[in-house]
């Protein structure tokens, strides 16, 4: 039975505790504070690697975007002091970083999205070690920072392999 890979990825991602704390959208930008978006990417066929047994290495890539309200409170009370203040911007980035860490943890455990019996999952990873800062939208109130990460899923499509090993 063919499995919809997007649904499989959504089910997988919802196991991440950090994702459960925020509304999650799919290919829909809702630029409100603390919302997450899954955005699909189309990967070029040239990224596929055929093997002599008829199986093909394929790739799925998603971008996760999050919107976080920002603060203009400085990190230190005054110039020349080393007293740190709690800072929402730093904390927001750390919370989004947790998704990257969770993906790495799952990869170490070989826990992958279930793409079905015709797909042997090879790897899942983020393309960066830290979230990408995509800018600040000052047209909304409060202003929103946008962060994103790219998640890559490599798998072997064995649907046309000449031999499926028992």
């Amino acid at each position: 039975m063919s499995i919809d890979k997007n649904n499989a990825f959504i089910d997988y991602l919802l196991k991440c505790p950090q994702m459960l704390n925020s509304p999650l959208y799919f290919n829909f930008i809702n630029a409100k504070d603390n919302t997450n978006q899954i955005v699909t990417n189309s990967d070029d066929r040239s990224m596929s690697s055929p093997y002599v047994d008829g199986s093909v290495k394929r790739r799925y890539t998603y971008t996760i975007i999050t919107f976080k309200s920002i603060t203009d409170i400085p990190l230190a009370k005054a110039v020349g002091t080393d007293t740190r203040l709690p800072n929402e911007n730093v904390e927001d980035l750390a919370s989004f970083q947790a998704i990257i860490d969770w993906i790495a943890e799952q990869a170490d455990k070989h826990e992958y999205p279930d793409f079905g019996e015709n797909c042997q999952m090879d790897d899942i990873y983020t393309t960066t070690d830290a979230p990408r800062f995509d800018g600040i939208n000052t047209d909304v109130s409060p202003s929103m920072a946008m962060y994103s990460i790219d998640i890559v899923i490599d798998y072997i499509d064995i649907s046309k392999a000449i031999w499926k090993q028992s």
């Binding site: 046309k160 392999a161 090993q165």
Partner: protein
């Protein structure tokens, strides 16, 4: 004996997966088989023909093929979970059991010739599989080279699965 024709539409190209190399060996009293080529993007049988050409005084060339020494390299040959051949070769490698690398029977199946249930094949007995190296970068790669014996029995196989049946037709 008549030559069987290619079972593809006119002009249709044969997919690479229709040329299948299978290794067979004994473990205890059990016959074990494995298709080669999983996660290998490119592999060809090189015949290494020893060719001798002479020219007579009229300028005509006469070319003889004295022998062939076919071999096929699989690089990468990744260590994969579930690979019985990988485990077997690794055991030979770690024991440096050089005299045990030549116990393989190899099948070359040309699925583009024949019909369903009767694909043309050739069986080479007493073949050698040499482990070229082991290592790599992200994943453990143990490239191998198959040396075919040319002790050939032609025939057919009924299917591409570990329990295929080989039916011999002519020994050459």
């Amino acid at each position: 004996m008549a030559v069987n024709q290619i079972n593809l539409k006119t002009g249709q190209r044969a997919e690479r997966k229709l040329l299948v190399t299978i290794a067979e060996w004994m473990e205890g009293t059990s016959t074990v088989r494995e298709i080669l080529g999983t996660r290998t993007p490119d592999s060809s049988i090189e015949y290494n023909a020893d060719i001798e050409t002479s020219t007579d005084i009229r300028g005509n060339n006469y070319t003889d093929i004295n022998r062939t020494q076919p071999q096929q390299e699989f690089d990468p040959y990744l260590i994969l979970g579930g690979s019985k051949l990988g485990a077997f070769l690794n055991d030979l490698r770690r024991r440096n059991a050089v005299s045990e690398f030549n116990q393989f029977t190899m099948y070359i199946v040309t699925m583009f010739i024949g019909t369903t249930g009767q694909y043309e094949a050739e069986r080479h007995t007493d073949c050698t599989i040499a482990v070229t190296s082991i290592g790599g970068d992200s994943n453990v790669n143990m490239p191998i080279t198959v040396y075919f014996s040319n002790k050939i029995t032609t025939g057919t196989v009924d299917k591409i699965a570990e329990d295929f049946a080989f039916s011999a037709d002519v020994t050459v």
